[in-house]
């Protein structure tokens, strides 16, 4: 299956500096931003699905990255959002370090293969130190999108 992460990330789903200081507040802020930009229809259902995952696992994959995710019919298609936290947020990361880069992924219940593939591609991309550094230093949402586009294979 061919899937490009950059096809699913829109500039209006990017927060260059998130205000929240802890993980559930960060998820709420990101989802509220997506609802405001009409990317998500049912924010409450979406948050509930994300919170269920957060209670059963750590979505902080290490190296300052967190990927909260869920399958939920609160979204109509696979969707990504991005947020950056200069101070970092505790996502109970596997390496114990705070997360500075947060990617949120959601897909409808019926799109499991696409969802798993997007998570796998994004996780692999973000293991690259150079990509993480570029994302941490980007100034504009368009720059974030460019970095993803140029570095995904």
């Amino acid at each position: 299956m061919q899937l490009k992460i950059s096809d699913y990330l829109k500039p209006e789903a990017i927060i260059m500096e998130i205000k929240a200081k802890e993980k559930l507040a960060a998820i709420n802020e990101l989802v509220a931003h997506m609802v405001e930009n009409k990317l998500v229809s049912n924010g409450d259902e979406f948050i509930k699905a994300l919170a269920k995952r957060e209670n059963l696992e750590s979505t902080g994959i290490g190296d300052g990255i967190a990927i909260p995710h869920a399958r939920t019919n609160a979204v109509k298609d696979l969707i990504l959002a991005f947020a950056r936290s200069p101070k970092g947020i505790d996502f109970s990361s596997v390496d114990g370090k705070p997360s500075h880069i947060i990617f949120l992924i959601a897909s409808p219940e019926g799109k499991k293969s696409e969802y798993i593939l997007a998570l796998a591609k994004l996780s692999r991309l973000l293991r690259k130190h150079a990509v993480r550094e570029l994302l941490r230093n980007a100034k504009e949402p368009e720059e974030i999108m460019d970095i993803i586009k140029k570095n995904e294979e």
Partner: protein
């Protein structure tokens, strides 16, 4: 005997059939499931040479397949209310397993039962479940 922390060891040789079984074992035992996909650099180099591909291409494919296995496992675990922690690491299988046993206080290992896994059964300091 109660196993609180189970480590499921996955490699590029592991197929999806082990995922459901490991989730069910942890659900029944009320255990936390740590899943570790290990990329073995020597094996990647061998595979690349055998298939006439560049090492970085084989590595990328293996890593992506690893993450897919991990997220498939996690999706099933969440459906079953099993706590999970996903890890992808690189190095010698036995060394990485020892590191995770120590770092996360693992009680029991779960591996796909194959001839290649004999070394894990023989060298492990904790009980091993072969699925």
């Amino acid at each position: 005997m109660k196993f609180e922390r189970v480590l499921l060891v996955l490699t590029d040789e592991t197929d999806q059939s082990i995922l459901s079984d490991s989730v069910q074992v942890c659900k029944n035992a009320g255990s936390k499931l740590f899943a570790l996909f290990i990329i073995e650099p020597n094996r990647i180099a061998r595979l690349a040479s055998l298939t006439h591909q560049k090492v970085n291409i084989v590595h990328s494919k293996t890593e992506e397949e690893g993450w897919k296995l991990l997220y498939l496992l996690e999706d099933e675990a969440v459906e079953n209310g099993v706590w999970t922690s996903l890890h992808l690491d690189e190095g010698n299988v036995l060394h990485r397993i020892s590191h995770y046993i120590e770092s996360y206080g693992i009680d029991v290992l779960m591996v796909k039962r194959k001839d290649e896994c004999k070394k894990i059964f023989v060298s492990s300091s904790i009980p091993v479940i072969g699925l």
